[in-house]
Amino acid sequence: MKLRAWLSGTAMVAMASLLTSVGQAKDFDGVTVNVMTFTGPQIAEPLQRRGPDFEALTGAKINVITVPFSDLYTKLLTDWASGTNSIDAAVFAPQWMVDYVGPGYLEDLTDWAAADTALQADDIAPFFREFSQTYNGRTYLLTLDGDFQMVYYRTDLFAEAGLTAPATWDDYLNAAKTLHGKDMNGDGQGDYGSCIAKKRNAQSYWMITSVAGGFIQAKGTSEGVFFDSASMAPLVNNEAFGAALDVYTATTQYGPPDEINLDVGDTRSLFTTGRCALTLDWGDIGTLAIDPENSKVIDKVGSVMLPGSKKVLDRASGKLVDCDANTCPHAIDGVNRAPFAAFGGWSGGINKAADAKVKQAAYAFFSYMSQPAQSNVDVTIGKTGFNPYRISQFDKIDQWTKAGMSEAAAKDYLGAIKASLDSPNMVLDLRIPKNQAYQQVVLDTAIARLLAGEIDKTAAMQAIEAGWNELNEDEGVDEQLGFYKATLGQK
């Protein structure tokens, strides 16, 4: 059995390695791989575009099935748990892996990836290779996208107004206030100081953690931003989270009138058509801004690591205290900044129950998508939704200039991502069982109610705290604490 598994793994890895060569035998003729991801166009687009190329190389047909983002987690879980197994592989959020690996739905890709030279795994940034793709030391996913949230701003407007890139959230609000209402795209109408996607049941619930990170986590990545790692008490009912909520709600004053109903696609469109001075988003803005067909802000976009705060949470008292060498050891110019690895980057995983040949084809496809020949091109195209995650993607500026970015803009954009990636105070996304319920249900609903004016800040913090405590109790506080500490690298 072991020999068979080894042989099958070796054959598959050999297949993946040979993909770049011409004239290979089509080992996957007649094989169809059903790959599920969210309704794009981002993420689904490169899979659909490269599927036929992969089929021409290997014979495997890639059938991309898309569902709304809010349904993706459940669709996969129900398909695999119920034994339907109509989905052979999926591209999804790595933080959900904990719910899929535990019951044994995902194929262990460790040996396949280790033997796959064409993948050039060493070129994948350590955070994605060693954290995002893995669970309990084993590799279950292949990273296709690198995700950090950052702040983007209009360099032309900032220069005109004598503003500098925001280092703190106060700077962000000040710039948004200064520029709000000015005509930013020459159409004679006033535009918006800040555009942040705040739609409920969408991809907005990461935004608040991006703001809160700098207020809550100061002593390095292993400190964590969601719970107290000694007691599993939620860190959402204190002055720091309250300050983050103040900032978040204040940005709405400088946003479009229907901002609380805008998804990331909407705010990206607003920013790239020149209607916003600032936005908070993943790396997609950088490449969407250089799209000559749709962008009106080519070479007018600055990227910066998430702003931070000069006051941070004292976990013993729940109060905000001033930053000093002791309270903020990683502060930059007195500002505690905590870049958020929100989502962790779209990654491909394979259904363990799929047919062996289909699994091999699925791995080969994900490997093909991730290999530099494909990936280094895809990350420079805005509509793919893929952002840089390979070392070579940060080092080779020419591929970005070839895609239409000026050298200065490329350095600025890649520099902001790299600074986030290298930060010792990076915030890791929540990766404990049922994390989707903690964030996509409890947090998302409370924030949406706060923004809609249904409840005030105090009630929002209490609602999140109560909801998270209830989930902790349902799943077992000690068990969840164990998972949480393991995620943070604590013992």
Partner: protein, 365 residues
């Protein structure tokens, strides 16, 4: 001979049995399974799933626990006027019950039904008053009731008005009959997307009109009541044709000789409507409203597509609430919401059938 006679007697039951068993399997089994689910906690596990019995915990969560805000709403303070309204409602229910008991035809089942319906109506009225007062905020139960009561009333008024118009001997009325009927033929999600596009104040086809009135910066989707209103308008757009069609058929079937006789006697249009048309169409009107009530309780597509349940949870109906809970794997809570909806909808519709629909038929007889 006796055996043959016995077989003949059983034949009907034997022939019907498979159909009855299939019907029971398809109607009773899901009901029982979801009832058990409503009392359980469901979780997916290796190779399948686990169901743990938790008693009434899912219902307690909705009524007094962490999901109370979502299901019942956030409670505000009652004003003097609210107390007066409540007092009036209690007195009306008491009077209705007294009349029923004094009528001499009271039965145990009828009394129990009236008590349940009356108590539920009072409880829902009290809930609506308390969550609609500051600092309260309605949950999915009251939002659904708003869609049902206000929405169906609006649709009935529009449907009846259009039916009365199209029943007139006007030129081109057949064209308008078809035009009014079209929204009913479109898929509900299609209606929702079309309406979302039409109602977009920034980029929709009516955007220049909003701009003309200085409303370009107003977002209906960001205000709870305007968002609910848009959902109701969309629902009316979709369902008014159904009421229109049925009421038009009823109007056209009213006794022509009576109408003509009334006209000859000099009766006004209003008098004809009040004394001839309305009594003639009342049983049909009551039935069509009952059908719409049952459907209206299940509204999901419009709030889901138009507003995603937002802003906050302002437009979330009970079905959408149950769907969102299901989508997040909380199948127990989803089933509990579903059962609560079933209880409220059944009591309301049975009460409407007995107290309104049946009564119109008695009048007809």
């Amino acid at each position: 001979m006796r055996l043959s006679a016995w077989a003949d007697r059983q034949a009907a039951a034997v022939m019907i049995l498979p159909a009855v068993l299939i019907l029971l399997a398809f109607s009773l089994f899901p009901l029982l399974a979801s009832a058990y689910l409503a009392l359980s906690r469901f979780s997916l596990a290796a190779g399948g799933y686990k169901i743990r019995f938790v008693g009434t915990r899912n219902f307690a969560k909705l009524l007094i626990g962490s999901e109370q805000f979502h299901f019942l709403g956030t409670f505000g303070r009652l004003s003097v006027l609210d107390y007066l309204i409540l007092g009036l409602a209690v007195a009306s229910c008491g009077y209705g019950l007294w009349r029923y008991l004094a009528g001499g035809r009271a039965g145990l089942l009828g009394l129990a039904g009236r008590l349940i319906a009356g108590l539920l109506a009072l409880a829902l009225l009290a809930l609506a008053l308390i969550v609609l007062n500051a600092p309260g905020f309605p949950g999915s139960l009251v939002v659904t009731l708003v869609y049902v009561v206000a929405g169906v009333a609006l649709q009935f008024a529009l449907g009846l008005g259009l039916a009365l118009l199209c029943a007139q001997p006007l030129k081109g009325r057949n064209f308008f009959r078809i035009v009014f009927f079209i929204p009913l033929m479109v898929t509900p999600v299609g209606i929702a997307y079309a309406f979302r596009m039409l109602a977009d104040m920034g980029k929709g086809p009516f955007a220049p009109i909003w701009q003309l009135f200085g409303l370009a910066q107003f977002s209906w989707a960001s205000d709870p009541w305007s968002a609910r209103l848009v959902v109701m308008i969309g629902d009316a757009w979709q369902w008014t044709p159904f009421l229109f069609l049925v009421l038009l058929a009823a109007i056209e079937n009213q006794p022509r000789d009576q109408v003509e006789a009334a006209r000859i006697d000099g009766a006004s249009s209003f008098q004809i409507f009040r004394d001839i048309t309305w009594p003639a169409i009342a049983p049909v009107a009551a039935t069509v409203v009952l059908i719409r009530l049952i459907e209206a309780f299940k509204i999901i597509d419009l709030p889901n597509v138009l507003t995603n349940g937002g802003p906050g949870i302002a437009t979330e109906s009970l079905t959408l609430h149950a769907f969102i809970a299901w989508r997040t794997q909380d199948l127990g809570a989803s089933a509990a919401v579903g059962y609560s909806l079933l209880f409220v909808a059944t009591v309301t519709c049975v009460a409407f059938f007995n107290l309104v629909a049946q009564r119109t038929r008695r009048h007809e007889a």
